[in-house]
Amino acid sequence: MAINPNRRAGVTLLELMMAMALVTIGVVGMMGSFKYIQQAIQASKNRTLASNLAQEKMQILKQKNYYQVLVTSDPAHNTADFAPESIDYDTGYFPPEDITAGVVYKLYTLVQVAREDSGTIVILSPATPDTGLRLITVTVVWSQGGFKKKLRLRSLLANPDTVMANAVFNGLVRNSATLAVINGALVNAAENMGWRDTTGADGTYSISLSPGNFTLVASANGYYTELRTVSIAANATQTQNFDLVKIATGTVTGYPWLADHLVISQIVGSTINTSGYDQEYVEIFNPTTFTWTVNGAIGLKFQRPVMDDPVKRTIQINYLAASIPSLGFYLFSNVNTVTAGGVSRTADAVWANTNPVSDFPYFGTQNNIIPVSDQGGGEGGGALELYRISDGSRVDAVGWDKNDAAKSAPFYETDGYDQNIGLSRKEQYVRFASTSGISGSFGPAYDSNNNNADFGEYNPISIAPSDSGITKTAVSGTPAAGAVISCSDGLSSSAEAALYGNPPYAYFSLVDVATGAWTVLITSGIYGIQNDTVTIPAAGSVYTFASTTSFLTQEFTQGIITGKVLNALGAAISAPSAIVLSPGGAGNDTYANASTGRYTLRVGSGPVDVTANPGNANPNYVSISSLTITVETGQVRSGVDFILYQGGRISGFITRDGINALPGVAVAVLDSNGASRDQQVTGSDGRFITINLSTGAYTVEPALGSRESASPSTTTVTLTTPGVIVFSSTFTVSGAMGYISGSVTFGGQPIKTGVLIVVTTTTLTGTPPAPPTLSSATLTGPPFYMVSSIETGAYLAEVRNSTSPRYNVYAYYPTPSGATATILSSAAANISVIAGQTTTGVNFSW
């Protein structure tokens, strides 16, 4: 468009408005982007805060006495926030904390026993005696924009007072037959999982430990575990070679079947009885293990080929029998007594007289629903559906074709039963009993969900109809292709059943199953079967599931954990009682077999901690917890084994004055070599009790901070009898710590920037009262305790127990300006502090 040179016009209103509109769109767009910038800043801030919180928690833990950083034997699992990942945490010693700093942060803490093994850090069972190394995991979880976020810190804490192990076991682990070295075999002391080593490619191991008597355990995948009782003196090196016997293996095979629904087992459209009546019947078989109610619950529908009738018609039925038993039959018919195949049967349900001829054109002729080709008019094809009346869902369906008239079954499973002229008079369609075909003696249960593969026919009728009074054994069902097979032998992996043959069957072969008697679990979806008596007697043996025992009929909503519990000599434990295995909250407890030591636990899916001998139910043996095991529904987790050694327990009482309890004091129990075997913290009653310890002499020692002392400082206890609790001593601790807490406010508002709190027994002078310069030169004077208030305007000062003299508490609130600062100060006098307790309400306000 040419521009008119004479044009002098300014912008029009329209142009101006469009310009404004464009500017507005731009501005709105920019405003929108602010939101994202804001979110990004927020995300970065949240993460920084989380990182600070985690580091702070870690610092706090690492500053504790090593023996006060306790390992929980029963961690809790948070699987909700980051499913399927689980955040494991301690609920007892270091419970989760909620910290509000803009958003709510949840701090989870977990302390685990760790050990360096051949260059890697391994996590050990919580009952492992002290290894001198602990792994602290702090996880911070928070929500942002509806999503959970987490930040995890891990740090190792080493015991500064670890006793140097001065005895060494070393040697080779070999295959007993070939004498070839075994790579990756684990050798450890049963008494202390921390004393361990894993063989490398050269098959050698070397374990440093304290001198004493031990049971060495050598284990390798595919080999029998060997236990050996050994004894070693200080500064000695002893060679112990293990020649492990390879586990002989066999195979478990089977043909798994699913049988979870009723099936249509026989269809007859027309057979004339002796009185000339044109009978028809439909027989149902129940391959499941439960009784089904049929009366009013299960119905039948029929449809002729689509060109004859486009709609599936519901058959009106008068029910006579209530239900169909397991492996039983149910007979629908148009007469009360069916005479066919040389027998007479009482029908369990008959067609009602109310069936309309508009739906079933042959109903006028002796109540016929299912027409046959002999009736003319192009009849012969059709389909029957067994359905659940409550919701109309299909239970089973069978369709048959009439190919000479190109009339296909109106509905079917996979493929309609191929017929040339269709169903004819005196003809019967019968469901196979197995892949071999029809049988008169076994239940017609074969169902590969393909009508053309599952049915056969006879003309005249040769398989007599059955009613609800008859049962037959089922040897097949629906092939359970995809079923997963796992075994408790701890050696074999799992196998999956696949389809073979025509008609198809499902078959599996689980190889490398160790010799012995095992539990085998076959699961497919929620159905499965557990067989506890699968035996592989010798190398190369094959165990085949019998056809009658390979139906996946149990409903599985659980997984299985198996293993064995043995004593240090490798024998099962029976006295004074069998060992209880507890999966915590994941399932019910069970007992280990008193003669084989084997156990099988059924547990819900998710992380599980198994404890053997919880609460020392068998008082002669120690209690040991496994590491966390993750189990899925229908899965066997095998090889969760425990070796329990005999032991007794040590108890004691810690007091601040000989009478009153002093809670929260850590107590270390050291063996004769000075290695820590257990640590406990006194409860609110001042008492402690150790885990079971193997018999022997122990030193009990309260783990105290500086300037704290205990009387007596240590006590020696000798455990001689397994199962007995020995009282060590009453320890009186002097100089133990208590707390003073309070708040700092300015004009009624909490001070967020920080207030210095100084606690001392001396009186400070000056304006403001001035605390002295502190350095190592002042170390011998009366102590000062100092702390800064936190962001919430609260403080908590840890001070030594003192009721006389009492404490003075000074608070200083500085406000800097330019190069100087003004200080507001305040003081509180006559504050007494009792060990293990908190004196609250020492508040300061300006």
Partner: protein, 165 residues
Amino acid sequence: MVAFSRRGVTLTEMMVVVAIMSVVFVIAAPMFLQVNRTFIMNRTRVEMQQEARAVMYVITRTLRQARASTVTINRAAVDQPFYSRISFTKQQGETLIFQQEGVNLYQVIGTGKRALSKNLRYLAFTFTRSDEMGIISVSFTLEKNIFEGRKKALHMASEKVRIMN
């Protein structure tokens, strides 16, 4: 069309435009101001966080190398807060001082004096107890003025340093 396009804007049209724009600006101005304020506040917070981290890193890294027997906590002058100064000698023999002078946090090495932060609100070097000087707790708060006299403080939770030597 041609006749129409020759005309300029009338006074009425111009007034309408001015009126609409006034309304738009009146609504938009506070929004812009608010957005700008939030932006500055967030930027300042991030700055404070970074500064606090850097300061904490410098202090704790050097403090870890201190010899416990050489640590002294006091204050730089009588017009400074208590325990806002720490002096110590590192394992390598070098003497270091961190001290507060009003809103400034200085690192002093020999005669050299370097400002680590000019936004100090609170600083305290404390022993949890004076009879055990192996653990020193470093607490400080940084604060920066934002326009209109609004202040935004960031408290860096105290970090405890264990002196190994």
